[in-house]
């Protein structure tokens, strides 16, 4: 069962059509389109007419890299998802274009992920993991090599966890999954998957640093630290706005629960079945809000903490 879940979890980030509410899908498209417009302009400045061949071949590279798998245990295998790596080695703007091409081709050709929800998939597999991974990596910008690698590893891990969290929240707010179950399960499973992502990303970067040291210095020249904030800002916006946009009864209940929460004197205006409270996971709409927010805040806190740790000057570094 666990094997099946972990096998499936990688695919779980490709949301199919019909699993998100229309309003949420459009909201995600809006966010994606705005960021893509910025990315296209910035990348064009950097690459000029080279942009198309470089981005196209690199997108094919990410697709091919996802084919490189390694046996994990009991017949399952892990592979790279690649958003963090793409953003780190190509820079955020080219990285976003590349990941968008990968997502679009997977949806158009293989139906991995839907068309109407493609905006959400760009958010979940491109924007959020890319900026989170890149942001953490940039925090170690002027540090030693091993420091950078450690930051990339943490960033890659966080990128997968953040992607899973946002996917779970989008599904729950669309009324296609139970928030109390889907958030801990998705985040939990992807905490494991993220470790594979971190290992492979770090190893790939080690190789690239050795074979093409100039490349990473180049992409490090583009401005940095605020990308953590950009990535998180987008994630938070979606998380906060999605429930208000949700047309499904669950989403409305969720908002109703929140209003009950704001006017603390009121009871929650709806009743769950008395039989199916799930201890430890929460039993009211109130706890679901808290769960969602706590999730995002935990990720933020971890990133900031990691940032602090990395920023602390380390004189004893040997710079392996």
């Amino acid at each position: 069962m666990l094997a099946f879940i972990s096998l499936v979890a990688g695919i779980l980030l490709h949301i199919p059509d019909g699993f998100l509410s229309l309003v949420i899908s459009l909201l995600c498209w809006l966010a994606a389109v705005v960021m893509l417009a910025v990315a296209a302009r910035k990348a064009q400045v950097d690459y000029d007419e080279r942009l198309i061949p470089v981005a196209g071949v690199m997108a094919a590279f990410i697709f091919a890299a996802q084919m490189l798998n390694f046996p994990v245990a009991g017949g399952t295998s892990g592979h790279l998802i690649g958003a963090a790596l793409a953003f780190i080695v190509l820079g955020p703007w080219l990285g976003l274009l590349v990941m968008t091409a990968v997502i679009a081709l997977q949806a158009l050709l293989f139906q991995d992920g839907g068309l109407i929800v493609m905006g959400a998939n760009i958010l979940v597999m491109g924007l959020v993991p890319g900026f989170v991974g890149y942001g953490v990596y940039r925090l170690a910008a002027n540090r030693s090599k091993s420091f950078k690698l450690a930051a990339a590893g943490v960033g890659a891990w966080l990128s997968i966890v953040a992607a899973a969290l946002v996917t779970a929240l989008l599904l729950a707010f669309s009324g296609t999954a139970n928030l109390d179950i889907v958030v801990p399960v998705m985040v939990g499973v992807h905490m494991l998957i993220g470790m594979g992502e971190a290992l492979v990303t770090v190893a790939a970067l080690t190789f690239i640093m050795r074979s093409r040291p100039a490349l990473l210095d180049e992409s490090a020249a583009t401005a940095g630290g605020r990308w953590v904030l950009a990535g998180l800002g987008i994630a938070l916006l979606v998380v906060l706005f999605a429930p208000y946009a949700s047309p499904s009864p669950d989403g409305l209940e969720w908002v109703a629960g929140q209003q009950g929460f704001l006017e603390t004197a009121l009871d929650a205006p709806y009743q769950f079945l008395p039989d199916y409270t799930i201890p430890g996971l929460g039993e009211t709409g109130l706890s679901t809000i808290v769960a969602g927010l706590v999730g995002v805040l935990v990720v933020t806190a971890v990133i900031l903490l990691v940032g602090r740790l990395l920023k602390r000057p380390q004189r004893s570094q040997s710079g392996a």
């Binding site: 695919i11 059509d17 893509l36 071949v57 990968v102 296609t176």
Partner: protein, 269 residues
């Protein structure tokens, strides 16, 4: 690997294949949008939508089996949607006692779950049908005409062009790894720890990246040598014929009709 390894197009000489790709993209999007808009428990609407897909498959001279097989990609999402069973207030159908947990599946939850599944399944079949009856380059061309930014379309087209080339490289890397990873028969050992295996894979990814970057350089030089000026050109002007307008109008009318019938049907019960 061959150039068409990843191709999903199935060549036929049917009416559907000959339609203008722009029209096919628009109708497919409208159809997917419409399935997403069908309310929970609109069984009649679901059935009619499926019939339309089935009929279009026949009209395209394709065996429905192909669409069915490819539509199984959404099965993993069963897992995410299954959690919706226990959240919806309603009359309990089943209750389970698992240790301290009591899980109740309600009738409303069941309707929601099945509806989500059917909607997702219908939408994915429409997309499958679209890619089966439209060659990928035509699809890209249609997207350009539909005002998708040319730069994005060009990147996706390029990716498509080099997909099998780089997938081939990836396979070669894996073959090389396999050739160097001797394994004692019957032990099931893969050699090295999990950590080591991930590291080796990471190095392979890095290697593939280096090769891809070099290749993109060569490709760009070759393009310059052939007079590339930053824009992809085409000699295939798609023209909407009267039949295309007619077919598109009919398809959209049927989709709207299904939507009306489905909603009407829900009001009766």
């Amino acid at each position: 690997m061959r150039a068409d390894t990843f191709d999903r197009y199935i060549r036929r000489e049917s009416l559907v294949h000959r339609l203008d790709p722009r029209l096919k993209v628009v109708v497919a999007l409208v159809f997917i949008l419409a399935t997403a808009l069908l309310p929970d428990g609109a069984w009649l609407g679901f059935a009619l939508s499926w019939l339309l897909i089935f009929w279009l498959t026949r009209l395209a001279w394709l065996p429905y089996r192909v669409v069915w097989k490819r539509s199984l990609v959404i099965v993993p999402f069963l897992l995410a949607a299954v959690t919706v069973l226990v959240n919806v207030p309603g009359t309990a159908v089943f209750t389970w006692q698992i240790g301290p947990f009591t899980l109740a599946i309600t009738d409303a939850g069941l309707v929601r779950f099945v509806s989500i599944l059917i909607r997702g399944w219908l939408a994915v079949q429409v997309a499958i049908l679209l890619t089966a009856v439209t060659p990928f380059p035509d699809l890209m061309h249609a997207l350009t005409h539909l005002r998708v930014p040319a730069i994005l379309v060009s990147i996706i087209s390029f990716m498509y062009r080099y997909l099998f080339v780089l997938a081939d490289e990836a396979q070669r890397l894996m073959r090389a790894r396999q050739a160097r990873s001797a394994r004692l028969p019957g032990t099931g050992l893969h050699g090295g720890s999990l950590f080591w295996r991930a590291k080796v894979t990471g190095h392979m990814v890095g290697q593939l990246f280096s090769r891809s970057l070099e290749r993109s350089d060569r490709v760009y030089n070759a393009m310059l040598a052939r007079g590339f000026q930053g824009r992809m050109l085409t000699i295939n002007p798609h023209v909407m014929r009267r039949f295309d307008w007619l077919a598109g109008g009919t398809a959209v009318s049927i989709i709207v009709l299904i939507q009306l019938i489905a909603r009407n049907d829900l009001h009766i019960y």
